[in-house]
């Protein structure tokens, strides 16, 4: 009984436990962020047929250039911190710090593992809506930084970012609606349980999943959509005038938001801590029965999935060229939003008429069609066609 009293003690309940749980979530996410720094550069190197950072730390016996993970923050800390003299000081200092706050708050709301263990910090009735609200405030850091630097490239970056974020917020939110209609709840935990009872949500909601991935890339200013920091047009966009630790803060918030978005996609579309096909015996109930060990195992599964989607981010970055700004707006407003609305309409009809399996059949058919399309024999492409460019034709 003493342990129970300790747990239900109000100060423990309102102050100590949340802090402990948040710290654990924070450590998990920051671990992923730190690792991503090295993984992304190595993988980009491999994608581009070069080596990438592969030797930092080899003198003291750290393999594969893993010393980069420590070397980078140290470099950021020791670099000179240059503040433009004509900058708007308050906004300039606020810029890098502001996006960190929502990026960290969101971790409290993500269910890393099955419920009774340490992983869920706070289960809110409007969970998903709150996450959306929080992620939508990340843009302020970019706008403020771009404006306060008093540099026209920074200002252009900030402007582009504001327009892009507001535009892609809409398909980002709309793509989730179909999932909510099927699961009937705004709580991420409930959505994961629904996926355990039925199929993973990306099968009935394959269209929504596609929209979500595109919009999530745009929200993070990642490469096909990195217009706010397009280096060939705007020097470095909104963070042109930022150096040392302030620049590192921008990077930190960007990667934290990437992790947040991956957590969202995992728990919305790919089953959270559960495994496919009835979990191979590792259902939520079984994991719950194992107590702390089960919680750790669930968290491990979750984090593995999150890492997979982080790799998808890097893959996207290495594959796609950047959009032009009007193309970006067209994609958002004329393609993604109507598609998301159509998806909501179809899902609504199916939910109302019953027979949610129809959506699953449709989803499986789409996936099979895509796989068959990708596995087909490549056509022989003649050298002539490959080298013909639109410029020479004109």
């Amino acid at each position: 009984m003493t342990t129970l009293a300790a747990i239900t003690n109000p100060w423990m309940h309102y102050l100590i436990w949340p802090v402990v749980k948040f710290s654990i979530a924070f450590i998990i996410v920051q671990g992923i962020v730190a690792a991503m720094n090295w993984i992304e550069r190595r993988l980009l190197g491999l994608f581009q047929a070069r080596l990438g950072p592969n030797r930092v730390g080899s003198e003291i016996g750290i393999p594969w250039g893993l010393g980069q993970i420590i070397a980078d923050p140290v470099k950021f800390l020791l670099k000179e911190d240059i503040v433009p003299s004509s900058s708007e000081k308050v906004a300039y200092y606020l810029g890098p710090i502001l996006p960190l706050v929502p990026a960290f708050i969101v971790f409290c709301l993500i269910p890393f593992g099955p419920p009774p263990t340490f992983a869920v910090t706070s289960n809110v009735n409007v969970g998903l809506l709150l996450i959306l609200a929080m992620t939508s405030t990340v843009v302020y850091g970019i706008i403020l930084g771009g404006w306060a630097s008093n540099n026209k490239y920074s200002l252009m970056g900030g402007l582009r970012s504001a327009a892009q974020m507001v535009s892609y917020e809409v398909p980002f939110g709309l793509s989730i609606v179909g999932v909510l209609m099927l699961a009937g709840s705004l709580e991420l935990e409930e959505i994961i349980r629904y996926q355990e009872r039925n199929a993973w949500m990306f099968i009935p909601q394959i269209v929504a999943c596609f929209i979500f991935i595109v919009a999530m890339n745009a929200e993070n200013n990642r490469t096909p959509f990195d217009l706010p920091e397009a280096e060939s047009e705007l020097v470095a966009g909104y963070h042109t005038e930022y150096s040392a630790m302030k620049f590192a803060f921008y990077m930190l918030s960007e990667y934290s938001m990437m992790v947040v978005n991956c957590c969202l996609i995992v728990s919305l579309f790919f089953g959270g801590w559960t495994l496919a096909m009835g979990g191979f015996g590792l259902t939520t109930a079984v994991l719950k029965g194992w107590g702390l060990l089960g919680g750790l195992l669930g968290t491990l599964i979750f984090v593995t999935k999150v890492m997979t989607f982080m790799l998808v981010y890097i893959w996207t970055r290495a594959t796609f060229p950047r959009f032009r700004f009007d193309q970006l707006m067209d994609l958002g407003w004329k393609f993604l939003i109507p598609l998301a609305l159509a998806n909501i309409f179809v899902t609504g009809i199916v939910v109302l008429a019953g027979g949610e399996w129809l959506l699953s059949v449709f989803g499986v058919a789409v996936i099979v069609a895509v796989v068959v399309f990708m596995m087909r024999k490549p056509e022989k492409v003649s050298r002539k066609v490959m080298h013909a460019s639109p410029v020479s034709e004109a």
Partner: protein, 227 residues
């Protein structure tokens, strides 16, 4: 646990309310519109917290989502587009500042007189009602005199605030909801039409074809509106 849960909302209200009032004063007092916008953002976030204390989680989330995520970004966008730093140094106050303060003070005194402490007794409201969804069924109901009639019967079910608001919004307030959506559509078209810029002859030569095509269509739309 009771003392803490009882006392906590009041403490939070006092702190957050003070911040909200202070930052809203700064919204009015700041010379630079960007700083005003930041303090307005702070006010909105504080108000969202106050909504949570009043068990209106859904409205609080919508408040942050729409105000912080949409409206304030739009404001900052326009401030940056106009680039305030190049505007001539303006006087902060208009000629009517004495009258303005007098009107503000008058309205405040009027409101304060209306809501002075003790007017609205809190009858310890049944806050479960804020999380209740009512589903209606046709049922056979036995009247007091023994006759049985068919009647619509409400069956209350306690769920979450967001579900309750959703049911209310889409069932009892469906027509106002549709009117609001029409209003938003009209506002969107209006904003686009008003905000468009005519290209000068000089610009028309240098702009790429895809933009010209667009302005052509927009001009047609505009003409059809004015016709």
């Amino acid at each position: 646990m009771d003392e803490l849960t009882q006392g906590m909302p009041l403490v939070v209200f006092l702190i957050i309310g003070t911040i909200a009032v202070a930052s809203s004063i700064l919204v009015v007092a700041m010379r630079n519109p960007v700083h005003s916008a930041l303090f307005l953002l702070l006010t909105f976030l504080c108000v969202a917290v106050l909504f949570v204390i009043r068990e209106a989680e859904f409205v609080a989330a919508v408040q942050v989502l729409v105000y912080a995520g949409g409206i304030m970004v739009l404001f900052l966008f326009v401030v940056m587009l106009i680039n305030v730093r190049h505007l001539p140094e303006e006087r902060v106050m208009s000629r009517f500042w004495k009258g303005g303060f007098a009107v503000g003070l008058g309205i405040f005194i009027l409101f304060a007189a209306l809501v002075r402490p003790g007017v609205y007794h809190d009858p310890n409201p049944n806050t479960k009602e804020l999380r209740t969804v009512r589903t209606y069924r046709m049922r056979n109901v036995r009247q007091a005199d023994g006759t049985v009639i068919r009647k619509r019967v409400a069956r209350p079910r306690v769920v979450g605030n967001s579900e309750a608001v959703g049911m209310m919004l889409y069932r009892d307030y469906l027509v106002p909801f549709e009117v609001i959506s029409l209003f938003l559509l009209v506002a969107m078209i209006g904003a686009i039409i008003i905000g468009k810029r005519e290209l000068s002859a000089d610009e028309e030569e240098t702009t790429p074809a895809f933009i010209l095509e667009r302005t052509e269509t927009e001009r047609e739309v505009k003409e059809s509106f004015s016709a």
